[in-house]
């Protein structure tokens, strides 16, 4: 009987041995298979999380080896085919108490570092700067509070790569029109909210994930210790563009950040200047087409036909071919209770004027109307 058990063991041993040789080789080979484990990240919090993750992982491994060890031993030795006779014990209060109390103690030990990590994670006091992050279907808006700088950050991977007509670049789906820029070694407080559905702002390397919820402003923070470009994503299902609203953060030296911020301010001023300029129909149509495809086509589609039942067509629609003020109103103020956002706060006057002009003249909507940026400004101020 025993020799039979040994034979079985020997048979088991061969694959095990093979595995232990193959394991390291595979690990070497799989390097390009991406990371297998959580990142340690570049903040205090992310490292704390990583450590917790590894502690609890190893606790599970140890318990697993013990428990499965007994089980596998039993499976090989306590077999009827080996002539093993079943014992008849089926109770032991001592053992039951032991395996209730010991795990409970392990958990208490585990709870201590977990609690202190959570305290740290929640400590948003003494921040050196604030960034307001707003989630929209399907892009992020970053506003540097107190600095009058705010911009939209959206996916910049071209459709052609997504629909496989062009080769995918290295940062496929992890690149944006304008990254968030923050200074290194600075405690930045993120205020996270949303304007339509719930999104979630996740920057893996910072150990930051906070849901962006309409009507709430959540707080979280990061002090990044290393400059570089970091990539993250939206982690709360938010509709069809959920996989297509990545996050890119550039962490730069403090003086570099100051320069960037002042350039950004100058840019904002320059765009404001343009508001009073008079544009031709052609100019507006070209700018408008690009801006429309960037901002509106996700819902209304590039051909203006929308998605029946969900997003209405703009092509031939009553509003896009009717009175201009109605059109201005819906684009600038959106329509509450629908997916149509208030774009007045997201886009510049020039872009708004161009998009509206484009919508009123493209796809056979030949109203001939030209809307100038100044009209947009007047409309906004008039209401």
């Amino acid at each position: 009987m025993l020799s039979k058990a040994k034979l079985l063991f020997a048979r088991m041993l061969v694959p095990l041995l093979l595995l232990s040789v193959a394991g390291p080789v595979m690990a070497e080979k799989t390097r390009h298979w991406g990371d297998l484990n959580m990142t340690r990240g570049v903040t205090d919090v992310s490292r704390q999380i990583y450590d917790l993750h590894m502690i609890i992982f190893w606790i599970c491994v140890v318990i697993g080896v013990l428990v499965f060890g007994v089980m596998i031993f039993s499976m090989f030795v306590h077999r009827k085919s080996l002539g093993y006779k079943a014992a008849n014990f089926h109770e032991s209060t001592t053992v039951e108490i032991a395996w209730t109390v010991v795990p409970a103690l392990i958990l208490i030990v585990m709870a201590v570092p977990a609690t202190s990590a959570l305290l740290n994670l929640y400590d948003t006091t003494e921040a050196e700067m604030d960034v307001l992050i707003t989630g929209y279907q399907w892009k992020w808006q970053y506003e540097y509070l107190g600095e009058d700088v705010s911009f939209i950050s959206e996916l910049s991977t071209p459709e052609s790569e997504i629909y496989n007509t062009a080769d995918k670049n290295e940062h496929y789906l992890q690149q944006v029109s304008q990254p968030l820029v923050i200074p290194v070694d600075t405690k930045v407080r993120f205020l996270v909210t949303a304007k339509d559905v719930i999104h979630s702002w996740w920057m893996t390397e910072f150990g930051v994930k906070r849901d962006a919820i309409p009507g709430f402003v959540n707080e979280t923070w990061a002090r990044v210790e290393k400059t570089g470009t970091y990539r993250g994503e939206c982690t709360e299902l938010c509709g069809k563009g959920h996989a297509f609203m990545p996050i890119v953060v550039e962490v730069v030296e403090k003086d570099e950040f100051a320069t960037w911020l002042s350039e950004k301010k100058a840019e904002v001023a320059a765009i404001r200047e343009l508001t009073s300029k008079e544009f031709s129909l052609e100019e507006l149509m070209t700018t408008g087409e690009a801006a429309y495809n960037r901002t509106c086509a996700a819902c209304h589609m590039a051909n203006g036909e929308g998605i029946p039942g969900v997003f209405p067509a703009v092509k031939g629609s009553a509003i896009a071919t009717g009175p201009v003020t109605d059109h201005l109103s819906i684009v600038i103020n959106g329509k509450t209770g629908t997916a149509m956002q208030a774009f007045g706060a997201q886009l510049s006057e020039v872009d708004l004027a161009a998009i509206i002009t484009y919508e009123r003249n493209a796809w056979g909507n030949s109203t001939g109307d030209v809307v100038q940026p100044i009209e947009i400004l007047n409309f906004k101020q008039g209401q």
């Binding site: 484990n37 992310s46 999380i49 079943a86 014992a87 089926h90 719930i198 309409p214 982690t235």
Partner: protein, 517 residues
């Protein structure tokens, strides 16, 4: 009194017989399992490579939503209600379920619920696309018009579950044979009794949640709309107050099945019967007070976060007790490894792995990184597929000879087991890596660094899918052409009243109650 089944289709439509209704539930759930499985194949085919190849993102979201809803409410829950119908009367020595007409109704409304749900796929604007957790306001203000049909479907499913549970409670409490005290009941009956109470408690909460949605969508209320003074986070609290007990509703009866099979094939009584009962009750109680561990990133206050973390960690204790008891049952038994036992052992190993990841997820700071990634997807498939589905499969192989008087083909059964076991692990083990490396769940498309493991996972999914077709084939072949068996006890080590009955089990059993000593 002792008449056989009626003839023709009428037998199935009007039946009040617990065995017939059990059979209906089981076939229905298998049909839903294949439908939900088909949706999963669409998802995995799209995720085979980066880039959109097969479907559009909006349709992808409909697939993930329908997959989740159909699997949870259409496949797993009815499967265990079917097992309960077949087995509980036979296990406690009752002639039938206590409320046979309600039993018929609770089954027959289900096909309508799922017909309504499936029909949304053909509607303008498409099927529900907001995930099986249907968080507001994506599922209210921003939902496709089919959301109303979804709500109606959920109401019907809820009504069906509540009726089914009342029936089980009534049967277990009233129809036990003389001498069958509560602490003598097989664990399958115990776990179902407790599950039934969970269902009665939380299904109305789900009904409340979807009714508030209905109001928000159609009548301009603002329960979950911040702009009208409502609260989207409230939705999540209400949903998970239902949702977390729901995951135990799914797993507790599976625990019961495993607690029957392991002793049978170890030829040794279940270790720690009473501690198993207490552990089940403890899990059920805890399941009501941990719901917000699904919401560690919504920005709860620190104290709330801490409380839900501690409470969730506690669940690992009674869950651990169960696993230790099963292994002690196997220890020094005289084991054989027929198909039901193989599935039961795989259950113990894989469910425990799901429990380990559950424990990891309960650590709130770490959950910040795991939440809504493929790590969570791996976790719940280890507990729901390798847990509930494996145990359901084990149950079918275990009791099939008793049900139809035919023996399945052992080689084919084992073949199915190995394909399912390997396919399952190839599918879901790499998803741990994907999640830790940073791939969020419910993504229609992904960055290049996730490509390799996604491809592996998709290949595994196709293998696992094929195993289910083999399962169907095995069951049909057994019924049509299996070797007839007649001895009451199919398995040497099996215990319980069901094995004192003739094989196949007659249409009516225990018309006079057996004596239990």
């Amino acid at each position: 009194m002792a008449h056989g089944p009626a003839k023709g289709i009428g037998r199935w439509i009007f039946t009040t017989n617990h065995k017939d209704i059990g059979t209906l539930y089981l076939w229905f759930s298998f049909a839903m399992f294949l439908l939900g499985g088909f949706f999963a194949m669409v998802i995995r085919a799209e995720l085979f490579e980066p880039g959109m190849q097969i479907v559009r993102p909006e349709f992808f979201n409909q697939m993930t939503t329908m997959h989740g809803l159909v699997m949870v409410f259409g496949a797993i829950m009815p499967a265990f209600v079917g097992l309960a119908n077949w087995m509980i009367p036979m296990m406690i020595g009752a002639p039938d379920m206590a409320l046979p007409r309600m039993n018929n109704l609770s089954f027959w409304i289900l096909p309508f619920a799922f017909a309504i749900l499936a029909s949304t796929l053909f509607m303008e604007g498409g099927a529900p696309n907001f995930g099986w957790t249907f968080y507001a306001p994506l599922s209210t203000t921003y939902a496709p018009p089919s959301v109303n049909y979804f709500i109606f479907g959920v109401h019907i499913m809820g009504a069906s579950s509540i009726m089914g549970s009342i029936n089980i409670i009534a049967t277990v409490l009233n129809l036990r044979a003389p001498g069958m005290t509560l602490m003598k009941m097989p664990l399958f009956v115990w776990t179902w009794l407790i599950t039934a109470f969970l269902l009665v408690a939380v299904m109305p909460v789900l009904a409340g949640a979807v009714t508030m949605m209905l109001m928000d969508v159609n009548f301009g209320t603002s329960f979950f709309n911040a702009a009208g003074g409502g609260d989207p986070v409230l939705f999540q609290h209400v949903f998970w107050f239902f949702g977390h007990p729901e995951v135990y509703i799914i797993i507790l009866p599976a625990f019961g099945v495993i607690s029957a099979i392991i002793p049978a094939f170890s030829r040794k009584p279940l270790f720690g019967y009473s501690s198993m009962v207490y552990a089940t009750a403890a899990i059920a109680f805890l399941s009501f007070i941990v719901w917000a561990h699904h919401m560690f990133t919504v920005g709860m206050p620190l104290t709330g976060e801490l409380y839900f973390m501690y409470a969730t960690m506690l669940i690992a204790v009674p869950t651990g007790v169960k696993v230790f008891n099963w292994i002690s049952t196997m220890f020094r038994g005289a084991m054989t490894f027929e198909t039901p036992m193989l599935f039961a052992i795989a259950f113990v190993i894989l469910f425990t792995m799901g429990g380990f990841t559950g424990l990891m997820l309960s650590i709130a700071p770490s959950d910040i990184q795991y939440h809504d990634t493929y790590f969570v997807v791996a976790h719940f498939h280890y507990v729901m597929v390798a847990g509930a589905v494996f145990s359901g499969t084990a149950a079918v192989y275990y009791w099939l000879p008793k049900w139809c008087g035919k023996m399945y083909d052992e080689t084919m059964g084992k073949l199915q087991f190995w394909i399912a076991f390997i396919g399952f692990n190839i599918t879901f083990f790499p998803q741990h890596f994907l999640g830790l490396a940073g791939m969020p769940r419910r993504y229609a498309d992904y960055a290049l660094q996730f490509a390799d493991w996604n491809m592996v996972s998709s290949i595994g999914a196709f293998i696992y899918g094929a195993a289910q077709l083999l399962f169907l084939f095995n069951v049909i072949r057994t019924i049509v052409a299996g070797k007839p068996v007649t001895e009451p006890k199919t398995w040497e080590g099996a215990e319980g009243l069901e094995w004192t009955l003739p094989t196949p089990a007659p249409y009516h059993t225990f018309s006079t109650p057996p004596e239990v000593k």
